[in-house]
């Protein structure tokens, strides 16, 4: 039954690469860029679990989804005027 993990890994890794490319695409608006980096962190957390590292997966889930996204969007809302400059 463990052959289920390889398609899951391929799916997760492909979407991580696409989300990473989206997060440096400089024509996108800044909130979308930040949300994409949050998506990279979310998918990486599931991938850590598949790599048999539940400790690391839990750290990434607790930090990547909430705290990092909040820090980025908070600073973005503070410097809203210069975000496109």
């Amino acid at each position: 039954m463990s052959n289920l993990f390889i398609p899951m890994t391929v799916l997760l890794c492909a979407s991580m690469i696409v989300a990473g490319l989206m997060s440096i695409w400089s024509k996108r608006s800044l909130p979308i860029v930040m949300l994409s980096s949050g998506l990279v962190s979310l998918l990486a957390s599931v991938q850590y679990l598949l790599l048999a590292a539940p400790d690391v997966a839990m750290t990434e889930a607790a930090i990547g989804s909430g705290l990092t996204t909040f820090l980025f969007f908070f600073v973005l809302s503070r410097v809203r005027g210069g975000a496109n400059g």
């Binding site: 463990s2 993990f5 390889i6 890994t9 391929v10 890794c13 991580m16 690469i17 990473g20 490319l21 997060s23 440096i24 400089s26 800044l30 860029v33 930040m34 980096s37 990279v40 962190s41 990486a44 991938q47 850590y48 598949l50 790599l51 048999a52 590292a53 539940p54 400790d55 690391v56 750290t59 990434e60 930090i63 990547g64 705290l67 990092t68 820090l71 980025f72 600073v75 973005l76 503070r78 410097v79 005027g81 210069g82 975000a83 400059g85």
Partner: protein
């Protein structure tokens, strides 16, 4: 599986470096840095993975006697655990400096900060 994850980690490092070197907006550079950070962590975790083994936590599924034959390498996981937490601290520091820089010059374009340029 470890090969795929490791290749993804390397590609994420390259993507992050490309973004950090070519973008001019400071916030975009910081986002690219976090992507590269995730890539580095993924490479280290993938190095520790061994095929057909399970997580280094003992319970009813893995007893202490057969641990050496059934678990994967725990040391990379301990390293990455602290690296993620430090990464958030560094990101918060960079964002605080971004706020102060914007307060001084009212711009986020890295080309406008020329005081140390020669």
């Amino acid at each position: 599986m470890a090969y795929i994850a490791m290749a993804t980690g390397f590609i994420l490092i390259l993507i992050g470096l490309f973004g950090a070197l070519t973008n001019r907006n400071i916030l975009r550079m910081i986002v690219a840095f976090t992507v590269a950070d995730t890539g580095v962590n993924m490479v280290i975790v993938a190095i520790g993975y061994m095929h057909g083994r399970t997580a280094p936590i003992l319970d009813v599924a893995v007893s202490a006697a057969e641990a050496a034959a059934r678990i994967i390498d725990p040391v990379p996981q301990a390293l990455v655990l602290t690296a993620i937490v430090i990464g958030v601290g560094v990101t918060a520091l960079m964002l605080a400096y971004t706020y102060k820089l914007y307060e001084k010059k009212r711009t986020l374009d890295i080309a406008q900060f020329t005081e140390l340029k020669w």
